[in-house]
Symmetry: C2
Subunit: 522 residues, 2 copies
């Protein structure tokens, strides 16, 4: 099994079919195959050897898909860079992975030059843009034109496909090593549910550096469905692309669904347009609210909604809440607020701190095993041993399981606040705060407290034209949760810091409070 296998099949069976559509342009499988073989040839000509790591810092593009296929074709390793990161973080990841080549697009050509100058491992910077090639960089198209297409190395199986750096919500970036087999099983498990099939027109709305988008990319390569590239997400752009390209399958964060619906409502020309081509909407990161689901069902009348819970270490796979549980009945049963059940090829358990499975309904740590579990953290055997035990990935997330195997995520254990010796799950406090009509978004964190160790602190974004004071909000919480769980302090902001996939960056929120202090968490 290797990631490029599907490409060979479609080159054989339907070379003239459209593989990729981007901004009105089309690329056939025959052209894609040739460009991928030439990119691999160019990497070889630049002296890249087996296992060398090739980084890409770019918005979504056709060339990103060529990179995803061309690097393993050349027997090299992917390092797709998180575009939201700081220069320091990116430099760290390039040096840590010993990346030899950095590919940048127009958006990131300037910062790319800075990054390369600080990363002695980088031998070549390739400019994959459409303007003039910056000094000191090689031109992507020129390289492809001059290169000889090479035979596919057919890199696959347990070999390293890529190093996917995790970052964002919990501490320092670690390189997650994902194999071809990891990605294949995660993808095939999704495909057994009918996503991303041969008739699919898939919109790359998530950033391509994210492994979730990579797993969709793999499925499309297997099935031969059509990639539609959205260079950067906005509600308007997604909306108009869905309509013009008749997109059928989507993968999103709930915040992105919201942004599309807001854009639709704001525009008189589109507010009545139903996006009837959409069949599957896979969303992750958090449950959908009933209000958002109602709006989404009206806008996407033929869509099934699927919530996925996973993480990079699981090649994004874990549990999934199927379309049939997105309804009033399961809003009432509560299952609509779960993360669903273990997906095909995966097992999930909830354990206590001794590693023993807990009874149903009891909160513990979520652990996952299956062929989707990462090989480990790059160059961090100790970190790997801490989370990978007997093939079970210890997610660090807290949750419980009901009698039918539905998993309810209570909290990231790392987000748990220990205040006065009591455990406070921030999700519980956030649920209490969210139920206040003036609150648009909220995040609850632990901040240093000499008295309590940690104190519960809430950050709030209010709805436009709404006002509420701290005391009212705390009183609102007191009616709903135990006193020790209620915020001791509240801070109002106009916006939250968000990750590339729309998660609130709690680390950012914590930073100012914890500067020069150590939080005692895993």
């Amino acid at each position: 099994m290797y990631i490029t296998q599907g490409l060979h099949r479609h080159l054989q069976q339907r070379p003239d079919a459209v593989a990729i559509r981007e901004m009105g342009r089309s690329l056939t499988f025959a052209r894609l195959g040739e460009r991928v073989a030439r990119l691999a040839g160019a990497l070889k000509a630049l002296g890249m050897a087996s296992d060398d790591c090739i980084a890409m810092l770019s918005r979504n593009s056709q060339r990103y898909i060529e990179y995803a296929l061309g690097v393993p074709w050349a027997d090299c390793v992917l390092n797709p860079v998180n575009t939201r990161w700081s220069v320091a973080e990116i430099v760290f990841s390039l040096i840590d992975s010993d990346s030899r080549v950095l590919i940048v697009d127009d958006t990131f050509k300037d910062v790319g030059a800075t990054i390369a100058s600080q990363s002695p491992c980088i031998r070549h910077v390739i400019y994959a843009g459409d303007g003039e090639t910056p000094e000191g960089m090689l031109n992507y198209e020129t390289l492809l034109t001059q290169a000889c297409p090479v035979e596919d190395a057919r890199r696959g199986g347990d070999a390293l496909l890529g190093i996917f750096y995790t970052g964002g919500t919990t501490g320092f970036p670690k390189g997650v090593m994902i194999s071809h087999t990891n990605l294949a099983f995660a993808g095939l498990a999704a495909m057994t549910r009918g996503f991303f099939g041969p008739q699919a027109v898939f919109l790359h709305a998530m950033p391509m550096f994210h492994l979730a988008d990579f797993s969709a990319l793999y499925c499309l390569t297997v099935s031969g469905g059509t990639h539609v590239v959205l260079p950067a997400f906005s509600g308007e752009a997604a909306l108009s692309t869905i309509i013009s390209e008749q997109v059928t399958d989507l993968m999103l964060a709930p915040t992105m669904i919201q942004m599309m619906l807001d854009a639709r409502q704001a525009n008189a020309a589109t507010s009545a347009l139903a996006m009837g081509s959409i069949r599957h909407i896979v969303y992750g990161a958090s449950p959908i609210t009933p209000a958002l689901l109602d709006r989404a069902c009206e806008a996407f009348p033929a869509a099934g909604f699927f919530q996925g819970y996973g993480m990079t270490e699981l090649t994004t796979g874990g549990t999934m809440l199927d379309a049939e549980y997105h309804c009033a009945e399961h809003q009432a049963s509560g299952k609509m607020y779960s993360a669903g059940r273990a997906v095909n090829c995966v097992e999930v358990k909830i354990i206590d701190s001794e590693g023993v499975e807990v009874p149903r309904g009891t909160v513990g740590e979520i652990i996952v095993s299956g062929p989707n579990v990462m090989l480990g953290y790059w160059n961090r055997p100790q970190d790997t041993d801490q989370v990978l035990k007997n093939g079970w990935m210890h997610t660090g997330d807290g949750g419980y399981m009901d009698a039918e195997g539905f998993v309810f995520i209570v909290d990231r254990l790392k987000d748990m606040i220990v205040s006065g010796g009591e455990n406070v799950y921030s999700a519980e406090v956030e649920n209490a705060l969210s139920s206040h009509p003036a609150v648009a978004q909220c995040a609850v964190i632990g901040i240093p407290s000499d008295k309590w160790g940690e104190a519960v602190h809430a950050v709030i974004v209010l709805k436009p034209e709404n006002q509420v004071d701290t005391d009212t909000l705390i009183a609102h919480c007191r009616e709903r949760i135990a006193g020790y769980k209620c915020p001791r302090s509240i801070e109002f902001r106009t916006a939250m810091p968000l990750s590339g996939v729309g998660k609130i960056l709690k680390n950012e929120l914590r930073k100012t409070f914890w500067e020069n202090r150590t939080r005692n968490v895993g």
Copy 2:
């Protein structure tokens, strides 16, 4: 990845759902899980160690499914015995695989005793029937009652799942080593087409010892669909079970479809009954005829027909002809007579005798690569090296590929006749003979000829109440194919020798001619 993983999920999520139905009885996942864990415990108690081989000689049954899951649960290896074989062949396979335990049912208890007495490797014979336990055998149910359920060994990945002996049409049996990963990829590739999903009610109509049925068994275990067990195939039994159990998914040989339709037509009570519950009919071994397809479409109005081409060495996977090509348009285009295209996760090529890919339309040897390709032949490294080159399985089958990747099987290369230095593909001669209205079935083989090396010989079964002589048939052929391809001799029979899956056993036909001679084939 391990074959029992799906069982754990369904034990967790829906323990009270029905896993297996057999002759009106039902078994839940909870009971199945317990029985599987107890069977593994019983094998351990009998002294079976990791990698020990456990054979089963039985008609289809619930206990066969328990065997398929319980043996890997105990970290042992499967050896499902072909029930059509002679005592000598079975004894050979037991000794070759060093099988330690033989499980037999009521049908095979007597022959099982004979076989065990000739197989010194067999330590225990387990009687898995419902009558009195024969002397010298252990009782399956007693063993399960007395055993302690054990933890799943979670045997998986590249570990050996089973040794599947191939036999039938081409010479001496060889043990094909199949890993858990082999079976998983073959199964998931099928599931990505929508077969064997969570709503499926699958009829085990093929014999369970056959790897094709095993791959369906794996899919059902992943999806949690329902197994319906047919102890032994007959047209009547299949028909009534489909109707009573509302079967949705079927895997068959075309001869078996024919037998069902004949049974339906013969019975006034059923002749008008449409089997509307059927959604997927996967058939293999040979293309369907337009006449049979017409009858089948009327009887199974909601069914899609899918033709698979594969072999044990490919975990049965290879190419598939999709439902949409079973229609008048593709009868006219000829694609309906192809074996379809490479399935997901698999690559197929046609090569010449030098190993070079031939142009489209040119006949050559079909080779296949993918994660479904066997580990090799058990204890036969030389045989393995002959067919497995750089991960490509050399099937020994002749065929060509059209511009869209459809594969047309011309012949088993081993069935090719070399007559007077000319290659004669028996399929071509058979097609000419079949077009005569009096011919029901025919098989063309090479027989020894002092003059030509081999001479083309035809074996014919006529339609009831039809008559035709040798000269007329040869003249019929001369109008259609080259003179050197026409039969030199014709033999009329009332029936053909058939394999367990309905293939004509050409080796049987050849035997009398080739006794004490050697055919010069691979």
